[in-house]
Amino acid sequence: MYSAADLRKGLKVQVDGAPFIVTDFEFSKPGKGQALYRCKMRNMITGNQLVQTYRSNDKFEKPELEERKMQYLYCQESEYHFMDTENYEQIVIDKEHLGDNVNYMTDNMDMEVLFFQDKPIDVSLPMFVNLVVTKADPWAKGDTSGSDSKPVTVETGYVLQVPPFVDEGDKIQIDTRTGAYVTRVKE
């Protein structure tokens, strides 16, 4: 159990049966009044935001969260298959629960999967992934349009803006937090 006095940015608590992470926190105490703990929290499953003020005698369950090292195996339509690298147990996560993560996931990639009460709710990818460009328009030399980037498609089907010198078949590094191009990778 947590009490309101434990609340701080980054703490994970259970509210109405769902796991929440505190994203913003402010302590206030009007003169002669009681301590108030004002929180902004994000529902770790739905992403919805909750703004709530607690008093010091409010209590919170610790959410039953577990991170497991897993390997992403393959996808079949909207079903993404993963395997626990320690006990080889396999699970399926639906595409809609993975959100933008699917843009960066390639077969056999290692990642951490977060479970809430034994149900997978999120995956955490490496901060940077290297993906092969599968479709790119050649850069027309002498292009005077003034644009310094062009769209390419990578092996996962994700489309992003890259500098003009990136070609089909190149491997590029992408920042999974922002989805942006970082650099071309030479092998």
């Binding site: 302590f27 105490k29 002669k32 009044g33 301590a35």
Partner: protein, 307 residues
């Protein structure tokens, strides 16, 4: 944590506070920081020290000094409140309290205006001072510090800013939440503001207003939505004070009640006190505003994170 220039500014600020009160013929007193008993206040959690307590405020001792015959006293001291930590809170913080006999809360409001004007005269020209030409710049706001300041009753403030009336807020036990959420952000944003006349339940040591027994002659000073000082006309009827303390004790949980006791000597001496008024001002918060900083931890020599 303050740098060398900051330490100089803080020292000049302390010097200016002291010289204001000395000029006004206030006697500087220093009472024990560690004491064996507390005034029963529901919402203040004390820090214990070997069976005694670190003071949450020098109020008890200073009122006893008034009863002993002092007429104007002030004290700059460190106070402690357990678990209070945030942008505007430190568990150990600096308090300025002053008390005067033959005075009421309106005299204290006038003191606040005079004190700030004296501070600005002393500090206004210094590099670190965020006030120029009598105006405090903070974000995109310009707050004029020239007296007279605004005065707004709690009743009126709730009518103006809160979704529910003060009566409803008291009945639902949501006064604090509504004050913080809906009212405070609008207080003292053009010029400093005194929020005054609190429901009597919210001023356990304050005298009730003559002719309005449900109101306490208590006020809070706000600048830029930040509460800086809490002052009131002192309740000097020891019979009524005893009943108010009993009510506070009743509302405490068992654990807190065991540590609290009726301050008998205080009540006894209170009976000898006539009209008086006293105020506590958060020194670190005022310095924070004058330096244009956003948290009290930035204006003390060492904050908890600096060790």
């Amino acid at each position: 944590m303050l740098d060398l220039q900051g330490l100089h500014f803080r020292a000049a600020f302390f010097h200016s506070l002291r010289s204001f009160f000395v000029r006004q013929q206030f006697l500087e007193v220093d009472t024990p920081i560690r004491q064996p008993l507390l005034l029963p206040e529901l919402n203040i959690e004390p820090l214990a020290s070997e069976g005694w307590f670190l003071q949450a405020s020098p109020e008890l001792c200073m009122k006893r000094l008034l009863a002993a015959g002092c007429s104007r006293i002030f004290q700059l001291c460190n106070c402690f409140r357990k678990g209070e930590r945030g942008q505007l809170h430190l568990e150990e913080f600096t308090m300025l309290e002053w008390y005067r006999t033959n005075a009421d809360y309106e005299d204290l409001m006038a003191d606040c205006e005079a004190l700030l004007s004296s501070l600005l005269a002393d500090l206004g020209g210094m590099d670190l001072c965020a006030v120029s030409n009598g105006s405090l710049r903070t974000g995109d706001r310009v707050i004029s510090l020239q007296a007279p300041w605004d005065r707004l009753s709690v009743h009126e403030a709730f009518a103006r800013f809160s979704p529910v009336s003060i009566e409803q807020a008291m009945a639902n036990d949501t006064f604090d939440e509504i004050l913080v959420e809906y009212v405070e952000p609008f207080l003292g944003v053009d010029r400093p503001l005194f929020l005054y006349d609190y429901p009597v339940e919210l001023g356990s040591l304050a005298r009730s207003k003559y002719g309005f027994p449900l109101l306490a002659e208590r006020f809070e000073l706000y600048i830029n939505g930040i509460e800086l000082a809490n002052g009131f006309s002192e309740l000097t009827d020891s019979q009524e004070q005893r009943q108010r303390f009993e009510r506070e004790l009743e509302l405490m949980d068992d654990e807190r009640r065991l540590r609290s006791s009726m301050p008998e000597r205080f009540l006894e001496e209170l009976a000898g006190l006539d009209r008086a008024a006293g105020i506590a001002l958060g020194v670190d918060r005022l310095l924070m505003l004058l330096m244009g900083k956003e948290s009290v931890g930035e204006v003390v020599s060492f904050a908890p994170g600096d060790f």
